[in-house]
């Protein structure tokens, strides 16, 4: 197990180095450089040069790269002139919101997917599974913003039991946990339910596949009840593909967050990315891209480790 962790960790670190380098290259490939973005297109060459020297952009590229790494390791990601805050602090605040939203959504969709997938896998080929399959497909086809909007219309406008979003303003007054949670309900539901569509379908076919394997017959021949076979033998084996898919879906979750967060006015990374892109706030954009990359790499690392726990064959002996 230790061997597996170190090997996977080494791969993760290598991925991060490559990622950081790509982000560095992209920021430095901005047409005209960041100076023009800050000073405007009509800036005089002298002013641009002066700013470049001040920002350290006049130095040779390798030196800039080294400095970039040095700052990164200190947690310094630059300064957002537009929002007038250090990027690290800014991204940190939004990141907390994003994590609350997505951890909630992932827990919700995993729990629901396991339940639904078990039913679907066990009844495969018969009407309950077919009905579930039809629901999954229609749910999968629904666009995020549409579901979000419908939720707002029903729960907030018609029933008036949940806020429409806009947690940003509340945060300033330092709301209690309950208020914060109430604001989370609708976004979590939206992201979670849409996640269920794909995940449960995946898990359902995984359960069905495992049920057809020889060890299930062996377990039944021992005299175990079907329920015991399902929960003691099949579940653990069927979870592996689900974990892999979850790990791989991290970038989509964050990229997809732009839509959900803008519908709910939810101050997460997606929302920040969207706003920063509109106002060309490069330090913030590159920090978020970097962060999404880091989350993806860590997500995959986590999936590998969980799979190692689930399946001894994945471990290095």
């Amino acid at each position: 197990m230790l061997r597996m962790i170190t090997t996977r960790l080494a791969t993760a670190i290598l991925s991060l180095v490559i990622l950081v380098s790509i982000v560095f290259a992209m920021t430095h490939a901005t047409p005209g450089g960041p100076a023009y973005s800050i000073l405007g297109q009509k800036a005089t060459p002298a002013a641009v040069h002066e700013l470049n020297v001040r920002l350290g952009l006049a130095a040779p590229l390798w030196k800039q790269y080294a400095i970039w790494w040095w700052h990164l390791l200190q947690g310094r990601l630059g300064y957002s002139y537009l929002l007038n805050r250090p990027v690290t602090q800014l991204v940190g605040d939004y990141m907390a919101n994003t994590l609350a939203l997505y951890i909630g959504a992932i827990v919700l969709s995993v729990v629901l997917s396991i339940g639904i997938g078990l039913v679907q896998g066990v009844t495969y080929g018969r009407w309950p599974a077919k009905l579930i399959g039809a629901f999954q497909l229609s749910l999968y086809a629904l666009p995020t913003f549409f579901v979000g909007t419908i939720f707002i219309l029903y729960f907030s406008v018609t029933l008036g039991i949940l806020p429409t979003g806009g947690i940003t303003d509340l945060r300033i007054e330092n709301p209690g946990l309950l208020v914060y949670a109430r604001h989370l309900v609708l976004p979590v539901l939206t992201v979670g339910l849409l996640g269920v569509a794909g995940l449960s379908r995946y898990f359902g076919s995984s359960v069905h596949e495992e049920l057809g394997k020889d060890y299930v017959r062996t377990a039944l021949a021992k005299g175990l009840t079907f329920r015991a076979v399902l929960f003691r033998h099949v579940l653990r084996n069927a979870l592996r593909p689900l974990v892999t898919i979850l790990g791989l879906s991290f970038p989509y979750i964050f990229a997809g967050s732009v839509l959900v967060e803008s519908v709910f006015n939810y101050p997460g990374l997606g929302y920040l990315l969207w706003r920063s892109a509109l106002s060309q706030d490069y330090p913030v954009i590159s920090a978020i891209v970097l962060l999404i990359g880091v989350m993806t790499v860590l997500g995959n690392l986590l999936a590998d480790l969980v799979n190692g726990l689930l399946d001894p064959r994945e471990r290095f002996e």
Binding site: L2, R3, T6, T7, A10, K213, D214, Y215, R217, T218, A219, L220, A221, K222, G223, L224, T225, R232, H233, R236, N237, L310, D311, P312, R313, F316, E317
Partner: protein, 638 residues
């Protein structure tokens, strides 16, 4: 002897898609006595596995069972589900084929064994664990305390099957059902498993129902034999009577299809097993039987006996085994061999395998450990000759085949038709490689399911620059004809083929480039005995026709003795014996060769077989192979 299990007119029908259930098994009567072994023998499609699953009632949804299954005093067909669950695992232990997939890959073997014991006895975890430990020791796993917390993939094939047996024994059942437990294991290991089952059934006075397609493996161990064909019993009785004087033409042909020493031709049963939906109304074997009469085709024959076995054949009294062998064994074509010139010369060949380093630090920096898989192998093969390469799993025999095929890097020389591969220019080398072809073990796995048979067979032709599908398919049709298949198969996909047909396709594909050598890597080990006989005969005929050379890799020394002119025995990556087949097999000098020959019951001439004393476990060698096996698994599974 009291009967542990009695099947009384057991019939099973299975649902295939929509519509009415299709009868798979009809009116089987069978008994297993305490402490005895009954062998239920049948080829694929005979319904033997359905019978075993019918006994423990684990058939797929919609299956219909008729008749009685009497276990001691209880009729299992009358039990409700909860009662039946208490019988499974407690009164009946099951051992399945392919233990790697039959054991849960993510659960420690100790827990898998303890689970069944705890379930039926209600004992504590601690007691169950102690029981699991005892059982592992009893089934002959070395250092059981160290292996209790291992996972199934950490065991070798034979050891895994022992774990499976330990699990089946956990609650000391009255009956053990073993469904093809030795299929896929090499002969030495298979013999050890059988010997283990024999010891256990005697010690525990447990009845064993041994289900197999291979008559040769049960000859020395079974007390009763029951032969199934297309879902019906064709012959049954005491094993001694059966092997002395089989009465049913199918049993006779089946026995004749097993390669024996000095045999010039194997029995081949023409035609195919009927599909369950289209089984003939009378004797089901009639369409393939050389002795059929008009009456055979209309009514199922009543069981008859002359004091030995009971047989369901109208003419069973008069037909002797010699008659059958005369009727169904066609004479081999004339040997028009040109045995001059060397086809292949292998000179001090060595192969290293790389594997993940065992040392932690070396692993981090990505270094690999080297493992010598083959060492110092030298031999020559003439045109038209067949070289048999025998040895256990892990002996390096497949590696040798792959090195000759130039599929893996090696040290030393491989000289093909006078030219060394090492000295050839790139283009020349590519052409030469085309003339060494290969046929793999699992025919259905080695054919691309999305390609038409015509394209599979013609693919090598495409590589050698023959353009136009029509032109290639014309040649493919000729190739199919050579392997005894119809050109109507050209546009079909491999999914619908039987194992034997698929292997013929693989041979046709190998023949396409007009090769000098074909490497046959366990070509028949996944096939039924009668199919194997047909295929070996075909291969023999092909070699006779045009001086083709074979490298036949097999763990089955009997099949090798039937085919080979020369034999090479590999053990642990070294060539321990090499020479003309007759010399090596009749007068083996090496101990390992002697062991291999001893493990093959049919290999010895029948007269010399003497008493049925093979039930004892092979003492010295058994432990040695056990350790060898364990070491192999540890090495190859990172």
């Amino acid at each position: 002897m009291s009967a542990v299990l009695t099947l009384d007119n057991l019939s099973v029908a299975l649902k295939r898609g929509r519509g009415k259930p299709v009868p798979i098994l009809d009116d089987v009567n069978l008994t297993v006595a305490a402490g005895e072994m009954t062998a239920l023998v049948g080829e694929s499609g005979s319904g033997k596995t359905v019978a075993s699953l019918g006994i423990i009632r684990l058939l797929p949804r919609g299956a219909k069972i008729a008749g009685r299954v009497q276990l001691g005093d209880t009729d299992l067909t009358r039990l409700n589900d909860a009662e039946m669950r208490r019988v499974r695992g407690r009164d009946i232990g099951m051992v399945f084929q392919n233990p790697l997939s039959a054991l849960n890959p993510t659960t420690r073997v100790g827990n898998q064994i303890a689970e069944v014991y705890r379930l039926h006895t209600g004992e504590s975890d601690r007691a169950a664990r102690a029981r699991a430990l005892d059982l592992l020791g009893e089934v002959g796993i070395p250092n059981p305390a160290d292996r209790l917390d291992d996972y199934p993939h950490q065991f070798s094939g034979g050891m895994r099957q022992r774990v499976m047996i330990a699990m089946a024994l956990a609650c000391s059942p009255k009956l053990l059902i073993a469904d093809e437990p030795t299929t896929g294991l090499d002969l030495l290991v298979a013999r050890q498993i059988l010997a283990l089952l024999t010891r256990l059934r005697r010690e525990h006075r447990m009845g064993v129902l041994f289900i197999t397609h291979d008559l040769s493996i049960v000859e020395e161990h079974a007390d009763q034999v029951h032969v199934l064909y297309a879902g019906r019993s064709v012959e049954w009785g005491r094993a001694r009577d059966f092997f002395d004087q089989p009465r049913h033409p199918y049993s006779q042909a089946l026995l004749g299809a097993i390669p024996r020493l000095g045999q010039t031709r194997l029995t081949s049963i023409q035609g195919n097993l009927p599909d369950p939906e289209t089984r003939p109304p009378g004797c089901r074997f009639a369409p393939r039987c050389a002795f059929r009469e008009a009456a055979c085709e209309t009514a199922y024959p009543a069981p008859d006996t002359t004091g030995g076995t009971v047989f369901a054949c109208r003419r069973g009294r008069e037909i002797t085994q010699a008659d059958t062998l005369d009727a169904v064994t066609e004479s081999p074509p004339p040997r028009a061999r040109t045995v001059d010139g060397t086809a292949l010369k292998v000179d001090r060949l060595a192969v290293d395998y790389e594997r993940t380093a065992t040392s932690f630090l070396r692993g981090i920096v990505g270094r690999k450990d080297r493992l010598r898989a083959l060492e110092d192998i030298s031999f020559t093969l003439k045109h038209g000759e067949c070289l048999g390469i025998v040895g256990q799993s892990g002996s390096g025999k497949s590696t040798l085949g792959r090195a000759v095929l130039q599929m893996i890097p090696y040290h030393g020389g491989v000289v093909f038709e006078g030219e060394s591969f090492g000295a050839m220019k790139h283009r020349r080398r590519r052409l030469a490689r085309r003339r060494i072809q290969v046929v793999f073990q699992d025919p259905r796995e080695s054919l691309n399911p999305r390609m038409r048979i015509g394209d599979i067979v013609a693919e090598p032709l495409k590589l050698s620059g023959i353009s136009g599908q029509r032109k290639r398919w014309t040649q493919a049709a000729a190739l199919l004809d050579r392997v005894g298949l119809s050109e109507r198969m050209l546009p079909m996909f491999p999914g619908s083929l039987s194992g034997g047909q698929a292997q013929r396709i693989a041979i046709a594909r190998a023949l396409a480039t007009n090769p000098g050598i074909i490497v046959l890597d366990e070509p028949t080990s996944s096939l039924d005995v009668s199919t194997q006989a047909l295929l070996l005969n075909l291969l023999k005929d092909l070699a006779c026709q045009d001086g083709l050379s074979y490298m036949l890799i097999s763990h089955d020394i009997a099949a090798v003795s039937y085919m080979a002119d020369k034999v090479a025995v590999l053990n642990g990556g070294r060539l321990v014996e090499f020479g003309p087949a007759g010399d090596v097999l009749a007068h083996p000098r090496n101990d390992y060769t002697k062991e291999l020959i001893a493990a093959s019951p049919h290999f010895r001439p029948r007269a010399a077989q003497g008493g049925r004393g093979g039930a004892d476990e092979m003492p010295v060698y058994a432990t040695r192979t056990a350790q060898h096996e364990t070491a192999q698994t540890k090495e190859y599974n990172p």
